[in-house]
């Protein structure tokens, strides 16, 4: 399956999808040293985002979250790519400064955890 979206941060990334229907706060919600989601009660709590194609509706929380994404990239714990329904400023800025490919305006219900997803600029290819 192929979906078209809007480029937030240009690039190519491929990996296994990790999908949630809940927004993610990177500051305080994800441990930048391990890449594990630590927000209490989050669907992805305890899951590692490292090298995954991270699929979630939108970001939330403190603007410091942009720096958290950057720390993850430098620590090698960052997701390979980010796919959003509606990207907001924290994730957009974080993805750009960390050079993590990021796209939005995607119907994320089409992507399930475990799918192999390739992101290439404005196109998402999904293999079930």
């Amino acid at each position: 399956m192929e979906l078209k979206g809007r480029i937030i941060s240009k690039g190519v990334a491929e990996g296994e999808a990790l999908t949630t229907s809940q927004p993610i706060s990177f500051y305080g919600g994800v441990d930048p040293d391990t890449g594990v989601v630590i927000e209490k009660g989050h669907e992805l709590e305890g899951k590692k985002v490292k090298d995954k194609m991270l699929v979630f509706p939108n970001g939330k929380g403190s603007t410091v979250g942009s720096y958290t994404l950057y720390r993850m990239k430098k620590n090698d714990t960052a997701p390979a790519g980010i796919i959003n329904e509606e990207c907001e400023t924290v994730v957009a800025v974080g993805a750009i400064i960390s050079e993590i490919p990021c796209i939005d305006k995607i119907d994320i219900s089409k992507i399930e955890t475990g799918d192999i997803v390739r992101l290439e600029d404005d196109t998402v290819r999904i293999r079930k």
Binding site: S9, T63, V64, S66, Y67, R71, K74, A92, V93
Partner: protein, 401 residues
């Protein structure tokens, strides 16, 4: 595909012809502009950059700043938010050598970019004072709210990197609170309670922030408000909920040109009481007292000196006056510093209770700031919000009651 209109000059920057920092900055501004449907970039008169404390940045943040500092130079007046320590005398605040070394590297990077090392959340008190209607790009939510509401300048709530991007380009995308149509109040808040002390303004901010959520309040019923009261209210209302803009009838500019919104919320004595109850914890022993969130004005420092004169801070309690270095210099000349330090108090310049590495150091804090209480809870402290008199008493006695 870029949706926003770019001039030749802006395209050159985006293509990297003016170096790495300008290119990265344009990428950030264009992405934000496209997300929010901006038609173009607009010039800004000044920038306030948050994300200064090494505590929040970590090594990766420092690396990011160093990369930008290689060829990035700010194009407009750019000031800095508080750092994680007093830059001149960090040892007295109990900051570790390792932290100080890293924090100084962060400051060096900002200095290299041409930024004024103001390290305050109140740039409007130390020389970066926008004019009515001026477009600016500020981060630091309390200052953003003050600039939008009390001054009538126009800014979105920027994050650290997007503010830096605006500084390197001298522009910001025209969306959100830069546009008149998005600055219309949509909740009427009628205040039917008397605000007696400074902390009441923080409590009022808490009530309004919680009740209006993501709306712009039009506040009636407030008879008068001074600088310190508005500064405290701005910090609180945005910390606890609302957009970084409000109108206060008869007090803030522009309030006369708007209609009363239909949706009406009434704030009564009971609401203020409930705000105190939810901000205050059940704690009596106080080992930390901090005044100055946002940073103290010279008038507030004078008040602290008056109340502390010939008194002595408890040996069990650490007492901080957080302010900008410039205000402290005024306090030095007037003798306030000597009075406060003789009483055992400490000046915490360039830093504050929200961004210093305080986790694990104190069990409980007393403060005049509702915002300060919010961040202190993140640092695992029990909190007491009260008047300046109550806070000084707590510092002297080492306990609240």
């Amino acid at each position: 595909m870029i949706l926003m209109y770019l001039t030749k000059e802006e395209e050159r920057m985006l293509d990297g012809e003016e170096g790495y920092a300008a290119k990265k900055s344009m990428e950030i501004l264009v992405a934000l502009g496209d997300i929010y449907g901006a038609e173009k970039l607009i010039s800004v008169g000044s920038v306030q950059v948050a994300g200064v404390s090494y505590h929040n940045l970590g090594d990766a943040g420092l690396e990011f700043l160093n990369e930008l500092a290689r060829d990035g130079k700010v194009k407009v007046l750019t000031t800095l938010n508080p750092a994680g320590m007093d830059l001149e005398d960090w040892k007295k605040l109990g900051i570790s050598e390792e932290f100080a070394e890293k924090q100084n590297l962060v400051i060096d990077a900002f200095r290299k970019m041409g930024i004024i090392i103001s390290c305050t959340c109140t740039p409007y008190l130390i020389g970066s004072l926008p004019t009515y209607g001026e477009h600016i790009a500020w981060s630091e939510s309390s200052a953003v709210t003050f600039a939008n509401s009390v001054i009538g300048a126009k800014t979105n709530r920027e994050g650290g990197p997007s503010a830096l991007a605006a500084a390197f380009v001298g522009e910001t995308p025209s969306y959100g609170l830069h546009l008149e149509e998005n600055r219309v109040p949509d909740a009427h808040v009628d205040v039917r309670t008397n605000l007696k002390k400074l902390s009441d303004w923080g409590a009022l901010g808490y009530c309004i922030g919680k009740k209006v959520g993501n709306k712009i309040p039009y506040i009636t019923g407030v008879k008068d408000a001074g600088l310190d009261e508005l500064k405290s209210f701005c910090a609180s209302v945005v910390t606890y909920g609302s957009k970084p803009l409000f109108f206060m009838k008869g007090i803030t500019p522009g309030s006369e040109k708007h209609q009363l919104p239909k949706e009406k919320i009434i704030i009564k004595d009971r609401d203020i009481k409930e705000a105190y109850e939810s901000i205050n914890d059940d704690v009596d022993a106080i080992d930390f007292v901090c005044i100055g969130c946002p940073h103290c004005s010279i008038k507030e420092v004078a008040e602290v000196a008056r109340l502390l004169k010939n008194r002595r801070v408890s040996s069990k309690t650490e007492f901080w006056v957080a302010t900008s270095r410039l205000v402290k210099q005024l306090a030095d000349k007037r003798g306030y510093t000597e009075i406060i330090e003789n009483a055992g108090g400490k000046f915490a310049c360039d830093t504050c209770m929200a961004v210093a590495p305080l986790k694990g150091r104190f069990r409980s804090v007393a403060t005049t700031s509702a915002k300060g209480c919010y961040y202190s809870r993140h640092n695992d402290m029990k909190t007491k919000l009260g008047s300046l008199e109550e806070c000084i008493e707590a510092a002297v006695r080492g306990k609240w009651s």
